[in-house]
Every structure is written in structure tokens, then in C-alpha cells.
């Protein structure tokens, strides 16, 4: 990122930063933690109308099998692929290896496309027994009944659009659009007081 010809030192600042503690926790208490994860890169892959074409490209480029609706699949180098909509998949990778995703842009068929949306999202990692208890105050989706491990869902948290997925039985991730991060942090920290 840095430009060698100058002595600028870019400062990365997440929108949750002013609200989290030194270790990045928005919430850290008995039975519940919410940690901001800053190293995710999110690149949107838009599919060709020809599904086979898309499948083939995804496999060749990143080693991913396109996931079924509402599912996540794995590719090379721990690239994750989220189903977001029938023609939209998110390639999620580490910030620092974003280039792994981008390198292939030139090889895409013209009716497929990549869009970098990394800057748009903050990622919150929830862990603990009380996660559902907290989230069910603001989320109408049936987390306990329907959000199985490896499932990803676009829905709302309060009035904010979010993407939520389950990593393990007691761990959830939520992706929040940056401009909503104060709102989301506000409602989470408000509710957590009364769990």
C-alpha cells in the first residue's frame, strides 16, 4: 500500500475502533464476547448467466466449488465463498492476501465481474452461550433453528442490513456496513446491559 517515494504512513482505522477496547472487543463478558475482526477482505464475484461457466471459473481461479444457496464453501488458501444471491458470491479472504483474489480479474469472462467491497464492512465475531440471547433482541431470523454451521444469511439487525454466518456452535460472525457501525454497536452495547 505505502508509496515508497514518500514518507506517508497510512493509518487504517475501522469505524468500530473508537468503540472497542484495546484488544478490539466491543463486548467482553461472561458468556458473551464480541470482537472486531479487521483483516477480512471482501470481494464480490458476480456470476455469468451461464451457471456452468461461473462454476468453472470459480473453481479454476480460486479453487472454490460454488456454494448452494445460503451456504459457504472453501477454496484455496482458506478463501471462503459465500452465497449471497443466485448471481452474487462473496470471496472472503485475509486483507493482506487480497491480491490472490484480484490477480484473476483479467481472466474473467466478460459477463462475470469482481468488485472490491472490503472497505464497506466491519466484521464482528460473537462467541459464547448468550449470543442468541443478545441477537434475538434485534434479529428476527431463527438463529437457533435455522442458522446451522456453515450457513450464511443476509438479514437485518435492528434496522441495519447485515450478513450473518455461523462458524461453530457457539461462534457467529456478522458483517456490518460501515455507516451503520455506530448504530449497531449502540444497540448491541445497550442490550448487553440487560441480558
Amino acid at each position: 500500500m505505502t508509496n515508497s517515494t514518500t514518507n506517508f504512513k497510512p493509518v487504517f482505522a475501522s469505524t468500530f475502533e473508537s468503540m472497542t477496547d484495546d484488544e478490539g472487543y466491543l463486548i467482553n463478558q461472561e458468556g458473551l464476547s464480541c470482537l472486531e475482526i479487521c483483516d477480512k477482505a471482501i470481494v464480490i464475484l458476480r456470476a455469468s448467466k451461464d451457471l456452468e461457466q461461473t462454476k468453472k471459473t470459480a473453481k479454476e481461479n480460486w479453487g472454490v466449488d460454488l456454494p448452494e444457496p445460503l451456504c459457504i464453501s472453501q477454496g484455496n488458501d482458506s478463501i471462503q465463498c459465500f452465497w449471497i444471491s443466485p448471481d452474487e458470491y462473496w470471496l472472503v479472504h485475509s486483507q493482506f492476501q487480497r491480491d490472490v483474489l484480484w490477480q484473476k480479474q483479467a481472466t474473467l469472462p466478460e459477463d462475470m465481474s469482481l468488485v472490491d467491497n472490503t472497505g464497506a464492512y466491519g466484521a464482528l465475531h460473537f462467541k459464547g452461550d448468550n449470543v442468541h440471547k443478545l441477537l434475538s433482541r434485534w434479529m428476527g431470523y431463527d438463529l437457533s433453528g435455522k442458522l446451522n454451521i456453515g450457513k450464511v444469511v443476509s438479514t437485518t439487525l435492528g434496522q441495519a442490513p447485515v450478513v450473518v454466518y455461523r462458524e461453530t456452535e457457539s461462534e457467529l460472525m456478522i458483517l456490518v456496513r460501515h455507516s451503520f457501525s455506530h448504530y449497531v454497536a449502540g444497540l448491541l452495547t445497550d442490550s448487553v446491559k440487560r441480558l
Partner: protein, 91 residues
């Protein structure tokens, strides 16, 4: 506050996640410049506004963002069918 089955997510979700997008089957005239003002007004403004089961459009705005069609009763809110655009809805 009914539930809608999104044909793309293939799951029932709360109505809150969706936005209504009006009556279905209102096709834009192929050659707008070639039709009368009446025919154009009919397309832009006039609606059947049916009482009973009718087809309408919804978009899963806080989900997969896809538009699709729903056959819903405007009397009971009961939904009979949902269909993706281009799907066969005849049966």
C-alpha cells in the same frame, strides 16, 4: 407481518426483509413512442388492484435483493405461490 418464501434463498423469511414492488405483469410497452397517450397512461398509472388472489412483485431487499413474483390474497394475505421471474407459473 406474514412470512414470504423467497424462491432464491429458498427459505421463509419475515415480511420485514422484503419490500413490495407492485402488481406483476405490467410490461413496459416495447415502443413507447408509438403508442397513444391513453395506452401510455394505462401502463404508467392504471392498475387492476384486484380483490382476492393476484400476482404481485416483491423484492428480498434485506436478503438476496432479488425481485420475484408472489400469488397472494389481498383479502386474507395468504400466499399460494411464489415464482422467480421467467419461471412457469401456469400449473
Amino acid at each position: 407481518m406474514f412470512l414470504i418464501h423467497c424462491p432464491y434463498c429458498n427459505e421463509e423469511r419475515e415480511q420485514e426483509e422484503f419490500s413490495p414492488a407492485g402488481e406483476a405483469f405490467i410490461a413496459r410497452p416495447v415502443e413507447p413512442e408509438g403508442i397513444s397517450d391513453e395506452a401510455w397512461a394505462d401502463y404508467v398509472f392504471y392498475r387492476t388492484n384486484h380483490k382476492g388472489y393476484h400476482w404481485e412483485q416483491w423484492v428480498h431487499s434485506n436478503g438476496c435483493r432479488k425481485y420475484f413474483m408472489v400469488e397472494r390474497s389481498t383479502i386474507t394475505h395468504e400466499i399460494l405461490k411464489v415464482a422467480a421471474f421467467g419461471a412457469d407459473i401456469s400449473e
